[in-house]
Structure formats: structure tokens, C-alpha cells
Amino acid sequence: MLEGAAELWIDALRIADGTVRVAVPLILCAMAGLVSERSGIVDIGLEGKLLAGAFAAAAVASLTGSPWAGLGAALGVSAAFALLHGFAIITHRGEQIISGVAVNILAAGLTVVIGIALFRQGGQTPTLMPEQRFSPINLPGVESIGAIPWIGPLYAELISGHNLLVYVAFATVLGVWWMLYRTTFGLRLRAVGESPAAIDSAGVSVPWLRYRAVLIAGLLCGIAGAYLSTAHGSAFVRDMSAGKGFIALAAMILGKWRPGLAMVACLLFGFLETITPRLQGVEIPIIGEAPTALIPVLPYVFTVILLAGFFGRAVPPRALGTAYVKEH
């Protein structure tokens, strides 16, 4: 009896562990989108920045042998795309949606073109050696604490044994929360997303605030990209972002543009993805065989329903999507 329960516990921990692994890039991108949108800038280019970051990380890690150099490249490339987005919509007041689409398409094309030119493997990077990746970190005391029944496995399986970027992702949620609600910069950032005119008349530069928001979004997507190709995976594969940037966008909306809630939404989506293979062929009463092919669709359906106000209400920042024209 007790043995069965222990087994179930380990199984639950494995699912939780899988959830965390899948949720990490979503969390980082959702935080990126959140910072950007809180400043009034729509970012549907999360997907492209994530993809570009993943490519840059794997390519540079493969060429230099260092995951840190890869991470640096991911940050740089993703930030460059973010600044391009900023240049188009902050400096030139271009359409934010169109600029985001351009970022996504450019990233999809450039990663493959440069990938083929560099490695001649059909757009993939070579498989990375263990020392070229971010490897799991064993937290102190895993040996001794791990032996304790119940709590031990929780510590060893779920809390310890992830790579550095996983911990960075969760720290980012705290960091973004702290920045938004506990710093002057965060206060101004939220204000500029609601009423840029007020910020302007207070003598604070609207473009400079928004550029910094866009840049933060770029850096976070870069970390997420590095996670995909050099921590979670061990190579870049074309289109490896596979819609994660858009799922993150959905999670951010479901989380009502708040860091904690957005993280919960990301974990929920990660959980759905983790349990999908386990539900394959499972018979559910009345419905019959579980329609596992439809589970990946759920995040999007939830988002549509929430946005339509059928349960709860998600109110975006008031000035979201509009360029600010300074009055003279």
C-alpha cells in the first residue's frame, strides 16, 4: 500500500519535473512579452527572437565550445532583433503588429540560411558535446537529503538537478515582479503603457523608457533561446521554437499581464504538454479514447475564451499598440 503511494509520488514528481522543463522557455518569453506590453508595445515577435536566440546559442557554442559564449551570442542576436523592432515602432512609429511579423519571418529565414552556410547540415547545427551545453546542477546535500523518504525525492527530482537557465527563469519572474512594482523604473514603465502623455509631461522620455523595455524583452527571449538549443536540447533544429513564442503570448494574456499569474499559466501549459503522451490511448468514460491530438490546442482556446470575457476579464495596458506622438 505504502509502496504504491510512494511510486505514485515519484510519478507525480516526474510529471512536475517535465512540466518545469517544458515551461522554462514559455516563462522567459512570457516575461519578455509582459515587460514589453506593460510599456505599451505589442510583441508578436517573441517567436522570432526565441528562434534567433536558439540558433545563435547553438551555433556559437558549437564553434567556440563554450555554452557561455553561446548564451552571449543569443543575448546579442535577440537584443538586435528587439532593437530593430524598437527602431521601427518607437523611432519611426511603424505598425507594431507588422514589425513583429517581419521579425518572425526574418528569423525563420536567416537562421536557416546562415545555418546552412556555416554547417551544411540542412539548417541544423552539429550536435553539441556535453561540455558545450548547460549541464544539470546538483544542489548541495542531494545525497543526504535525497535519502529522506517523501521529501528527499522532491528535493532530488524536482528542485535539484536542473541546468542553470531553469533557475534563471524562475528568478526572472521574481525579478520582473520586483522591477515592475518596487522600482521607479517599473512604476514609469507601467505608467507609459497606460498613459504615455502623462509620463511625457512629467519630463520622462517615453522613447527611452520603451527602448529599455524592448531591450529587456530581447534579452529574456535570448536566454529562452539558449535554453532551447544548449540546455534543454543539444543542437539547433530549424523552426525549433515551434510556436512557443505564441504560447508564451497566450500565457501572458491568461496571466492578465502579471508576472506571477503568467508564470502559473506557463506551468499549466507545460503540464498539458507533459501529460499528453501519457494520455495516449487512455479510455475516458463517455468520451472514449482521449483526444490527445486536441490537447495542444487548449492553451489557445483558453486564451480566446478569456479574452472574450467569458470567464474573468483580461484588460491590456491602455496605450498598448499605439505609437506615441509628442505634442509640441
Binding site: H92, I98, N104, I105, A108, G109, Y300
Partner: protein, 364 residues
């Protein structure tokens, strides 16, 4: 302020944007270590000169006309329909359901007519829901249409691996439609008239696309509805106080937009594949944004921009054969750059063009 001559707006600006995009792409090609001029000439030959090249170019053009028109109709009402992918996918579902149910039962021509209606209706439905949600529930159409793209893709995986999967199909796809429902290929028609023509997938839906252009032109510029639609796009508040039923217009505009995107499935599914397959929308819906931007949302411009993108796509496949280090993905780069220059950075070039032409005017 905006005193640019019409030909500058319509011709020069798109040409400048295209040149900028091609220049940047050329730099990328040079950095990759290939000759940009040779790449361009390979693409041009592939698109227009090689046997069957033109047919393939026009076949791609057909897709872009439909998706470009779809984006443009919504643009006129200042709506961003970036759900072309999903609407096309659903259009394909409409075609497949009609052809599988009625193929062999009714005469081929009748089934084709129903299939056209099916493509339009299913595409319209998939755009109408986001339109309705924006008009009556206040959700943002961009986000909803993005979500609907993914929902459509998931739906298709579920259907094609389940109930719609053909009995003897190894991969997730339907059975092949009855042959009399296939849209005739244009080279067969031309050969039937006694001329020689190289084989290509170009089919009758190209003609349908051109008809759709005429239809959209009539609708937007020659009807009261179109007038209201443009009024809504220019000044929504003024349009509303002038008595335009804004929410209803939003829903109808999106439905028309979705119907046009859905019709792209006529080319791919009814004209070429003859069965429903996964991911046949293949990014054409997104390219529609670039097409509409370059074509200034006007049917004539859209045909020209579609021809350009058709040539880029067909020429791009030629890159795969001629070069080892550049591939058709180069076309994606060009496409992204065109969207960047003619869309996102649209206001970057205009100011100094205005300055140049203002100077010219004072001198004259």
C-alpha cells in the same frame, strides 16, 4: 504635409522598398560567400525562362493573390487579419468535405462549384468568429486570429489522423478526390487548343483569383458597403456617427477576408493535391501581409506584388539546385525585409521623399 505625387506613392515607394530589401538580402548572400548578382539571375531564369518556370510562378502567384486580397480587405477597415493561415486551412477542410461527400455522386462541375462555396464559407467562418469576438466582446483581433491559426492546425492534425484519414493512406491525409472534381490544369487547356505548353501545377484557380480581384475592386470602390468600409478604416468615430453599424461591418469585413483566404485552398487542394494534407497553407497566409503592403491594398497592386512573390518563390526553388550554401529560405529573408521596409518602416522613407519632391516643386 502629404504632397507626394500619385506615381511616387504607387510606384516609386514600393520600388524603393523592394530595392532596399534586395540590397540587404544581397549583403546576406555576399556574407555567406556567394555572388548576389548570380543568385538574382538564377532566380529570374528559374521564375520566367526555364521550361515550366512561368507556370510555376503563376501557380504561386495564385496563392498570394488570394491571401493578399484577404489581408487587404481587412486592412481597409483597419483590421489586422493575420489569421490567413488558419482560414486557408479551414478552406481546405471545406473543399475536402464537399469533394469526399459529393464527388462521384454529382457531376464534377457541380461539385467544383460547391467546393468553391465550401472553401469560402469555411474560411469566412474561421475569420468571422474573431471578428465577432472583437466587435461584440472586445477581444483583440490580432491575438484571436493568431490563436485561431494554431487551433486550426491542431484541429487538422486531429481530423486527419482520425476520422478524415483515408483508408489506405499511410500518412495523415484524406483519400484522393474523384478525378472529375479536380480543377483543370491550364497547360492541358492550352494543349487542348492545339498549342504547346510545359507542364506545371497552374490551374483554373488562377482565373478565379483574377476574378476575385475584380470582385474586390468592385466591392471596395464601387459599392456603398465598400465606401462605409473605407470610412470605417479612416475614421471609425466619424463613420459611427455617420450611421455606419461598426460592429456589423467588422464582422462582415472579416468574413469576406476569411472567404478570400479560404479560397487559396482551391489552388492547393482542389487544383494540385486533390486530397487534404497537413500544413498546405505553408506560410502563404503570412506572405499575404507582405503582398498587401507592397500592393498598397489595391487589387492591381496586389496582382503585381503577387507576381513578384510568385517569381521569388519559384526562383527560390532554383537556388537549391544551383548553389550549395543558399537555399529557398533566402526568399523568406527577402520577404521579411519587404515587410520591414514597406510596413514597419513605412514612415522612414516618406519624409525625405516629401522633402525631395517639395524642393523640386519650389524650383519649378
Amino acid at each position: 504635409m502629404n504632397t507626394l505625387p500619385r506615381w511616387v506613392e504607387i510606384l516609386l515607394i514600393p520600388l524603393i522598398n523592394l530595392s532596399l530589401a534586395l540590397c540587404v538580402a544581397g549583403v546576406v548572400i555576399a556574407l555567406v560567400g556567394e555572388d548576389p548578382i548570380r543568385a538574382l539571375s538564377v532566380m529570374l531564369k528559374g521564375a520566367f525562362v526555364f521550361s515550366g518556370g512561368l507556370g510555376y510562378t503563376l501557380y504561386y502567384t495564385t496563392n498570394f493573390i488570394f491571401t493578399g486580397l484577404a489581408v487587404a480587405v481587412a486592412f481597409h477597415a483597419m483590421l489586422f487579419n493575420i489569421g490567413g493561415e488558419g482560414q486557408t486551412t479551414l478552406g481546405g477542410l471545406g473543399v475536402a468535405l464537399i469533394c469526399l461527400a459529393l464527388g462521384g455522386v454529382l457531376p464534377g462541375g457541380v461539385v467544383i462549384l460547391f467546393a468553391i462555396a465550401g472553401a469560402a464559407a469555411f474560411g469566412a467562418l474561421w475569420a468571422l468568429i474573431p471578428g465577432w469576438l472583437q466587435a461584440y466582446r472586445g477581444s483583440h483581433i490580432v491575438i484571436t486570429t493568431i490563436m485561431f491559426n494554431f487551433i486550426a492546425a491542431g484541429l487538422m492534425v486531429w481530423l486527419l489522423s482520425g476520422i478524415l484519414r483515408g483508408g489506405n493512406q499511410g500518412s495523415p491525409q484524406t483519400n484522393v478526390f474523384a478525378e472529375e472534381t479536380w480543377l483543370p490544369r491550364l497547360h492541358e487547356i492550352v494543349r487542348g487548343l492545339g498549342f504547346d505548353a510545359a507542364s506545371s501545377p497552374l490551374n483554373l484557380s488562377f482565373v478565379l483569383a483574377l476574378l476575385a480581384c475584380v470582385g474586390v475592386w468592385l466591392l471596395i470602390w464601387r459599392t456603398k458597403f465598400g465606401y462605409n468600409l473605407r470610412a470605417l478604416g479612416h475614421a471609425p468615430d466619424a463613420a459611427a456617427s455617420a450611421g455606419v453599424a461598426v460592429p456589423r461591418m467588422v464582422v462582415i469585413a472579416m468574413a469576406i477576408s476569411g472567404a478570400l483566404a479560404g479560397c487559396m485552398a482551391l489552388n492547393e487542394i482542389l487544383g494540385v493535391q486533390h486530397k487534404l494534407v497537413l500544413n498546405f497553407s505553408a506560410g502563404y497566409g503570412f506572405t499575404g501581409i507582405a503582398v498587401a503592403l507592397m500592393g498598397r491594398n489595391h487589387p492591381v497592386g496586389i496582382v503585381m506584388a503577387s507576381l513578384l512573390f510568385g517569381a521569388l518563390y519559384q526562383g527560390g526553388t532554383e537556388l537549391d539546385f544551383e548553389f550549395t550554401s543558399i537555399t529557398r529560405e533566402m526568399v523568406l529573408v527577402v520577404q521579411g525585409l519587404i515587410i520591414l521596409f514597406s510596413g514597419a518602416l513605412a514612415y522612414m522613407i516618406t519624409p525625405w521623399l516629401i522633402r525631395i519632391f517639395a524642393k523640386g516643386a519650389t524650383r519649378a
